[in-house]
Symmetry: C2
Subunit: 328 residues, 2 copies
C-alpha cells in the first residue's frame, strides 16, 4: 500500500505546504483514493503521476474549508476531461450540502454521477475493489471522521485438512477455491472460498484521521492498524496557549495515544503554519519550528515516526514496515 501527501498544512496554505489532501492506493494499482480535498488539491495532482481519470473515490473527513474547498474545482476538472465513470464521494452529510450548494449556485454540471455515501449513517464501505473502508467518528468542532483502509484480499493457502474433512475432492476445484472463487460441487453443495482459505498474513490497515482533539477515539480501530496518519497541529505548549476551542491535537497527545495503542508506524501532519520548516533560511530566534513537534513526539513515542511533507510518498510493505519512497 502506498500513500502520498498532497497537503500537510493546517487552515491555510504556506509556500511549501498546501492544505490537507492525501492520495492512497493498493500495490501497483491504477485506481487511487483521495482523503480530503483542500483548495489547490487538483493543482498538486498536476505535479504528481496521479490522474483524475483514475481517481475512484474521495473521502472527506469534515466540512471545514481547508479539507474540502478543492472539491468542486477538482470534480469540475474531471468533468472537463470528459469523465463518465461515477465518482464515489464519502463524508458527513454536511459535505453533500456544501457540494450541492456550490453546484447549484455556480451552475456546475458534471458529465458523470456522484455516488454520495453519508458515513454518519453508513460507516462501513465494502463496495470498493481494493479496500474495505471504515469511518470512525472523531471529536472536532463539526462532525469529523477518520477513515481506515484495510486490504480486501491477502495471499492465502488452502486449508487442505478442512477441505478433506468436508469431502471436497482434490482437483481443479481446489485451484478455483484457492483463487478465491466460490464454487458449486458436483453433489450440489455451494462452497464459499473464504471458508477454506488460510490467510498467509494479516491484511494491512492504514488509518487516516481527520481533525481531532481526542486520539483515544481511535483505540478500537487502531488495534490491528499498521499505520496511523494523524494531525498534530501544535506542540503541547502552544495548544495550552491556544486553548481547547479549535479542538486539535498536540504532538504529545497523539504520541501518548500511539504509544498506548502500540501503533507501529505514526505519520504526523496538519501542522500549524506558525511552525517553520527545519531546512532553508533558518528560524528566527525564539521562533517555532517543526523540529519542536518532532522532539515532543519522540519523548512519548518510540515507534517508527514520520512528519509529513507535501509530495512525499510512503510505502507500507506486506510485513508492516513503513518507508518513505521519495522526498520532494
Amino acid at each position: 500500500m502506498e500513500f502520498q501527501f498532497l497537503g500537510s498544512s493546517s487552515g491555510t496554505p504556506t509556500k511549501t505546504r498546501n492544505v490537507t489532501a492525501l492520495a492512497l492506493r493498493a500495490d501497483n494499482a491504477r485506481q487511487w483514493y483521495l482523503v480530503d480535498c483542500g483548495e489547490g488539491t487538483q493543482h498538486r495532482i498536476l505535479s504528481t503521476s496521479l490522474s483524475l481519470a483514475s481517481l475512484r473515490a474521495i473521502f472527506i473527513t469534515h466540512v471545514h474549508g481547508d479539507h474540502c474547498y478543492g472539491l468542486p474545482g477538482l470534480l469540475a476538472s474531471a468533468g472537463m476531461q470528459n469523465r463518465t465513470e461515477p465518482m464515489l464521494l464519502a463524508g458527513p452529510q454536511a459535505v453533500r450540502h456544501f457540494l450541492d450548494g456550490v453546484m447549484q449556485t455556480t451552475q456546475l454540471k458534471l458529465p458523470y454521477e456522484i455516488e454520495f455515501i453519508d458515513v454518519e449513517a453508513m460507516p462501513t464501505i465494502s463496495a470498493l475493489p481494493d479496500f474495505r473502508v471504515q469511518a470512525t467518528a472523531l471529536s472536532h468542532r463539526v462532525p469529523t471522521y477518520a477513515y481506515s483502509f484495510t486490504e480486501q484480499a491477502v495471499e492465502a493457502r488452502l486449508d487442505a485438512v478442512k477441505l478433506a474433512s468436508a469431502n471436497i475432492p482434490a482437483g481443479p476445484l481446489w485451484g478455483r477455491i484457492q483463487r478465491g472463487e466460490d464454487v458449486v460441487l458436483p453433489d450440489g453443495r455451494a462452497v464459499r472460498a473464504s471458508d477454506y482459505l488460510l490467510p498467509l498474513r494479516k491484511p494491512r490497515k492504514i488509518i487516516v484521521g481527520g481533525d481531532n482533539d481526542t486520539p483515544g477515539l481511535l483505540a478500537h480501530e487502531a488495534r490491528d492498524a499498521d499505520v496511523l496518519i494523524h494531525e498534530a497541529t501544535y506542540t503541547e505548549a502552544v495548544l495550552s496557549k491556544v486553548g481547547p476551542g479549535p479542538q486539535h491535537s498536540s504532538a504529545k497527545r497523539v504520541a501518548q495515544f500511539a504509544s498506548e495503542a502500540k501503533i507501529r508506524n505514526l505519520v504526523l501532519t496538519h501542522f500549524s503554519p506558525r511552525y517553520q520548516e527545519q531546512k532553508g533560511e533558518g528560524i528566527a530566534k525564539g521562533g517555532l519550528s517543526l523540529a519542536d513537534i518532532h522532539t515532543e513526539e519522540k519523548v512519548h513515542y518510540s515507534g517508527s515516526l514520520f512528519l509529513a511533507n507535501d509530495f512525499e510518498c510512503y510505502l507500507l510493505d506486506k510485513a508492516g514496515v513503513l518507508s518513505k519512497l521519495q522526498s520532494p
Copy 2:
C-alpha cells in the same frame, strides 16, 4: 497603474497557468484590487509581493468556478491573518449566493465584514480611494461583467483665469485648491476645487473583461480606455469547431473589435488548455500552440499586443504606454 496576472487559463489549471485572477493597483500604492479569484489564487499570491492584508476589494466577473472557487479560501485565510478591515466584494448577485452558501454549509465565520456590491443593480463604484470602477454587462452563459478601472485623481494646474474672474484672491487659498481641497472663502463662498483645476492629462483607464462572446459590448467603455484585458479562449478555427455554446471569444473577434475601437494596448488571457506553451518541450505535430492565437491576433490588430502569462507584471505609464515589467 500596474497589474499582475495570477492566472491565465480557461476552465482548468495547467502546470504553468492557473485559472483566472488579476491583481491591480495604482502607482506605488500599498492597497491593491483583485479581479476574479479562481481556485488557488491565494496560493499564487504567496509567490508574489502582494499580501492579503492590503487587499482592498475583490471584483468577480461571473460565478463560474474558474473565476470564483478561490474566493472562500482566500477570505478564510485573510481571516486567519486576523484581518479586521472590511473587504469590498463586487459581482453579480449570484456571487453573493455562492459565497453565502459556502459560508453557511462549511461554518466559515470571518472576523471582518464583507461589503457586497451587486453590480447588476449598482454598476458604478466611486467609493474606492484609487479608482472609479464601472461594471459593464457582457454576453456569456451566466450574468458576466467587465470592470473598468479609471484613475480617481490626476495631476492638475490651477485655472488662474477662472480664479481671477471669480474674484478668488491669490494666496494660500490657491495652494489648497491646487491640492484638491474644497475651501470656504473669507466672504463665505464655498469653492469646489475641481471647478478650478485643469487636468494635465487624461486619467488612465484599464478594462478587465470577463468571459464574453461579444467584445463589441465594450464599445462605449473602450472609447477612452488605454488597455483592454480580454479573454481569447480559442482561435477562430477552434471556436468554429466548438460552436457558440460556451460563449467565448476567438482571438480574431477580439482583435477586430480592438482595432475598430482603436484600443492602444490589448492583453489577451484565459486561454484554453488545449493551446500548449510556445517554449519548453515543444508542441506535438499538428498540436495547437499559443503562437496560433498570437498569429491570428496580429492579422487583425496592429496595436500593442500581449499574451498574458502567470505572474507577469505590466506597467501602464502616464503617457498610456504599456510595458511588461518582469517575466516569470
